[in-house]
C-alpha cells in the first residue's frame, strides 16, 4: 500500500461548555468531543468518516485543517519533499506554505461562499493571498480550474446568488483546487444537494481525484454515499473511532455492532428487499454525559457487564481492519449484500 500522508496520533478535542448553574464562578464543564483519535491517511485514497450527529466527525475535519485548534495530539504530515512535520505545530512561513496542501469543502454551499464576492474573486482569493501573480496569470489559472470543476468560464463575473446548490458546490471545489492541494477534507460535501445533483458532484470528485491524485477525507453521515466514494471507512461514535476498515471488508462484514446497526438502518430503494432491520433502542447519547465503558453499550444488543465497565481499545483484528469492541471476534454481524 502507499505511504501514509497524514498520521493522526492521539488527537483530543475538548469543548468548554458554560454550566447551567447560576453560580457566578462555576467552572465550565468539559465535553470530550474527540478522544484519542488515531489513524493514518494514505496518499491518493479516500478515507470516509461516518457517524451520526454529535459524533465529532465535523470537529475532526476542522481540527485537521486547523479551522479550530485541537486540545492535544499530533497530526504528522509527510510533505512532498518527504519531510515529516507536525502539521498542528507549524508556525509562520512554513505553516502558510503547507497549509495550501490541505483544503476543505463545506456542507452548505450557501454559507461557504461569501455573497459579497464574485465567483472569480472567490476562486482566486487563495491564489492572491499566497502568491504574487500577475492579473493575467491569475485569470488563466482561475479559468483553467473553473473548467475542471465544470463551471462555464463566462459565469465567473457573476455573484454566488446566481447559482444553484450544485453549481455553488462546484465553485467551492474550484476554490479548494486552485491551491493544488494534496488533501481535501470534504465535510458533508454532498449532503445538502438534491439526489440528481449529488451524483454529479460525487462523480466530479472522483474524476478530480484520478486527474490530480488528490487524497480525500470524506466526512458524511450517509453510508450509501460513503460506500460509493471511499477506499476505507472509519466509523465514529461519540468522539471515538469504533471501526476502521477497507470499504469492501467493512460493508461485507462489519465487526462492530454499531456499524451493523447503521448499515441496517439505511432505507434501501427496493420495496422487495428484506425489511427486517436492527432498530436501536433509545437515543444517541449526549457527548456531555457519555455512558461508562463502551459508549455504545446502552444501545447495544450484545452487551455484557464487561461493556459497561471497560472501554474497549481500537485493535486490529484482520489486515487493515480495526475494531473497538470486546467481542469483535465472537460476534457474527450482518453486512450488506454486494451486487
Amino acid at each position: 500500500m502507499t505511504k501514509a500522508m497524514l498520521d493522526v496520533v492521539g488527537l483530543n478535542k475538548e469543548f468548554q461548555v458554560k454550566p447551567k448553574s447560576a453560580k457566578l464562578f462555576a467552572k465550565p464543564t468539559k465535553v470530550q468531543v474527540l478522544s484519542d483519535i488515531s489513524f493514518e491517511l494514505y496518499e491518493g485514497e479516500t478515507l470516509s468518516i461516518v457517524g451520526e450527529s454529535g459524533c465529532g466527525k465535523t470537529t475532526l475535519g476542522r481540527c485537521l485543517v486547523k479551522g479550530i485548534p485541537a486540545t492535544t495530539g499530533q497530526v504528522i504530515y509527510r510533505t512532498e519533499e518527504e519531510e515529516r512535520v507536525d502539521f498542528l505545530k507549524l508556525k509562520g512561513k512554513e505553516a502558510k506554505r503547507l497549509r495550501r496542501d490541505i483544503q476543505m469543502i463545506f456542507q452548505d454551499p450557501y454559507s461557504s461562499l461569501s455573497p459579497r464576492m464574485s465567483v472569480f474573486d472567490i476562486i482566486s482569493e487563495p491564489l492572491v493571498a499566497n502568491f504574487k501573480l500577475s492579473r493575467s496569470e491569475v485569470e488563466e489559472r482561475v479559468k483553467d480550474i473553473a473548467e475542471k470543476a465544470g463551471l462555464n468560464a463566462s459565469y465567473l463575473r457573476r455573484y454566488p446568488h446566481a447559482f444553484s446548490g450544485g453549481q455553488r458546490q462546484r465553485i467551492a471545489i474550484a476554490r479548494a483546487l486552485i491551491m493544488k492541494p494534496r488533501l481535501i477534507v470534504c465535510d458533508e460535501a454532498v449532503s445538502a444537494l438534491d439526489v440528481s445533483i449529488q451524483a454529479q458532484i460525487i462523480n466530479l470528485l472522483k474524476d478530480l481525484q484520478e486527474q490530480f491524485k488528490i487524497t480525500y477525507l470524506f466526512i458524511s453521515h450517509d453510508l450509501s454515499i460513503v460506500q460509493n466514494i471511499s477506499d476505507r471507512v472509519a466509523v465514529m461514535h461519540l468522539g471515538r473511532i469504533v471501526e476502521l476498515a477497507p470499504t469492501k471488508a467493512l460493508f461485507a462484514g462489519p465487526k462492530h455492532p454499531y456499524t451493523e446497526a447503521l448499515m441496517s438502518a439505511v432505507p434501501q430503494p427496493d420495496p422487495e428487499a428484506d425489511h427486517s432491520r436492527i432498530i436501536l433502542d433509545g437515543e444517541v447519547p449526549n457527548p456531555a454525559h457519555p455512558p461508562s465503558g463502551c459508549h455504545f453499550h446502552p444501545r447495544c444488543a450484545y452487551r455484557t457487564e464487561k461493556c459497561e465497565l471497560q472501554s474497549p481499545e481500537l485493535r486490529e483484528i484482520a489486515d487493515g481492519h480495526s475494531v473497538a469492541c470486546h467481542y469483535a471476534e465472537q460476534l457474527n454481524l450482518r453486512g450488506v449484500r454486494h451486487d
Binding site: R62, V65, K66, G67, K96, R99, R100, I102, Q103, M104, F106, Q107, D108, S111, S112, L113, S114, P115, R116, M117, S118, E125, P126, A129, N130, E147, K148, A149, G150, L151, N152, Y155, R157, R158, Y159, H161, A162, F163, S164, G165, Q167, R170, A172, R175, M179, Q200, N203, L204, D207
Partner: protein, 387 residues
C-alpha cells in the same frame, strides 16, 4: 461522461435571485454585487424613498438656514410679542385678487372684554412678499457676508409665517436656524459613537475572552445609568458661560459616550456570528491573513447592518437633544435648537393661548418619523439574500 461539457450548454436557471426588480434586469442581477441588490430592494420601499426626499429637504434648509430665515437669532421686537402666524395671502379684504402674495401690517390691540393683547390686521397697509430681500447681514455658508434673504417683506413690515414667541422673535426663523443644531448634533454624535462602537465592539467580538467580558461589563454599567440624572450630572460639569460652539461640542460628546454601547453590541454580535461562517473559515484555510479576513470578509458582512443600526440610532439622538434642551440642560438662548423652542411650550397657558408654539414639535416628529422609515427601508434592503 464528461460533466464539464454538459454543464456548459446549460444556463443556470435555478438561480435564487433575491426579489429581482423586473424581468428585463433578471439576467443582469446575476452580475449584481450586494450593494446593487440592496439598492434594488431599497428602491421598492416607498416610504423610505419619500423619507429620503424629506430628509434631503430638511438638511438643505439647515445648510442654508441663514439665507432662508427672514430674521436672525438676535432680532426681536417687543411690539410683536406672541403674534399669531400671518400667512401670505392672495386675496385682500375687498376680495380683490393679487398676483403677488402679500401680508398686512399687524396692529396690536386690547381685547375689550378680556383686556388681553391681540393682533389684528391693518388692512390699509399691504406689504407684498418679496424674494431676495435685503435684511440683516450674515455669512453665507460661512464663506462671505451678504444681507440677501430668500423671503421677506419691505421694512418696516414684518412677516411671521409661524408666529412669534414671548420675546417677539420670529418662530419660523428660529425653527429654521435651530435645525442646524438639532439636525447636526445627532449626526456628529452618532458618528463618534459609531467609531467607538466599531472599535470596542470589534475588539470585544474578535478577541473574546477577558477583554470581551471587560468591555461587556462596561457597556452594562453605562446602560444601567438612568439617562436623565446622567445628563444632569454631565451638563452640570459643563461651565455655564461658554461659547455656543464649545457647548455644542460638549453635548455631542455626552451623547456619544452614552450612545456607543448599542452599536458596540451590534458589532460584537456580528463579529462573533460571522467569525464562524463557513466562508470565513474557508478563507482562513486558504491562507488569507487575519487583517485581510477582517477587511474583506467580516466588515463587508455587517457594514450594511451597521449603517442601518446607525440610521435607527439617529432619531433617538434627536429626541435626546430635544429632551435635554427642553429641560434647559443643553443649548441655551439666544442660540437655539428645537428643544430650546419647545422649552417655551412648557407652560400650559402658552400652549393654550399660543398653540403655534408647538410647531417645532411637529418638525421633530416629522424628522424622527422619516429617519425611522429610512432605517426601515435600509433594514429591509440590508440583507438582499434573505427571502
Amino acid at each position: 461522461m464528461n460533466t464539464s461539457t454538459i454543464f456548459k450548454k446549460k444556463v443556470p436557471t435555478t438561480a435564487k435571485v433575491p426579489r429581482p426588480g423586473k424581468q428585463d434586469d433578471k439576467s443582469d442581477l446575476n452580475y449584481s454585487s450586494q450593494w446593487k441588490l440592496m439598492y434594488l430592494r431599497f428602491k421598492k420601499h416607498k416610504l423610505a424613498r419619500i423619507s429620503i426626499v424629506i430628509l434631503g429637504l430638511l438638511y438643505i434648509v439647515a445648510l442654508l438656514a441663514q439665507f432662508i430665515a427672514p430674521y436672525s437669532l438676535q432680532s426681536y421686537d417687543s411690539k410683536y410679542v406672541n403674534a399669531p402666524p400671518t400667512l401670505p395671502r392672495f386675496v385682500d379684504a375687498e376680495g380683490k385678487f393679487h398676483l403677488r402674495p402679500f401680508v398686512y401690517e399687524l396692529k396690536s390691540e386690547r381685547d375689550p372684554e378680556t383686556m388681553r393683547k391681540i393682533f389684528v390686521n391693518n388692512e390699509e397697509k399691504r406689504y407684498p412678499l418679496q424674494l431676495f430681500v435685503k435684511g440683516e447681514d450674515y455669512k453665507f455658508l460661512g464663506l462671505f457676508r451678504t444681507d440677501i434673504h430668500l423671503l421677506g417683506v419691505e421694512q418696516p413690515g414684518r412677516i411671521f409665517m409661524l408666529g412669534t414667541d414671548g420675546m417677539g422673535r420670529d418662530l419660523f426663523s428660529r425653527i429654521v436656524l435651530g435645525s442646524q443644531i438639532s439636525l447636526s448634533i445627532p449626526l456628529v454624535g452618532v458618528g463618534i459613537s459609531f467609531v467607538i462602537g466599531l472599535i470596542l465592539g470589534g475588539i470585544s467580538g474578535y478577541f473574546g475572552g477577558w477583554i470581551d467580558s471587560l468591555i461587556q461589563r462596561i457597556i452594562e454599567i453605562i446602560r444601567s445609568f438612568p439617562t436623565l440624572p446622567l445628563w444632569m450630572a454631565l451638563s452640570a460639569a459643563i461651565p455655564p458661560r461658554i461659547p455656543v460652539v464649545t457647548m455644542y461640542l460638549y453635548i455631542v460628546i455626552i451623547f456619544a459616550l452614552i450612545g456607543w454601547t448599542d452599536l458596540a453590541r451590534v458589532v460584537r454580535g456580528k463579529f462573533i456570528s460571522l467569525k464562524n461562517e463557513d466562508y470565513v473559515v474557508a478563507a482562513k484555510i486558504a491562507g488569507v491573513s487575519d487583517t485581510k479576513i477582517i477587511i474583506k470578509h467580516l466588515l463587508p458582512g455587517f457594514i450594511s447592518y451597521l449603517v442601518v443600526a446607525t440610521t435607527l440610532a439617529i432619531p433617538g439622538m434627536i429626541l435626546s437633544e430635544t429632551a435635554m434642551s427642553f429641560l434647559g440642560l443643553g443649548i441655551r438662548s439666544p442660540a437655539t435648537s428645537w428643544g430650546v423652542l419647545l422649552q417655551e411650550a412648557q407652560q400650559i397657558e402658552n400652549v393654550a393661548l399660543y398653540p403655534w408654539k408647538l410647531f417645532p414639535l411637529g418638525i421633530v416628529i416629522l424628522t424622527v418619523l422619516t429617519y425611522n422609515f429610512l432605517g426601515d427601508g435600509m433594514r429591509d434592503a440590508a440583507d438582499p439574500y434573505k427571502k
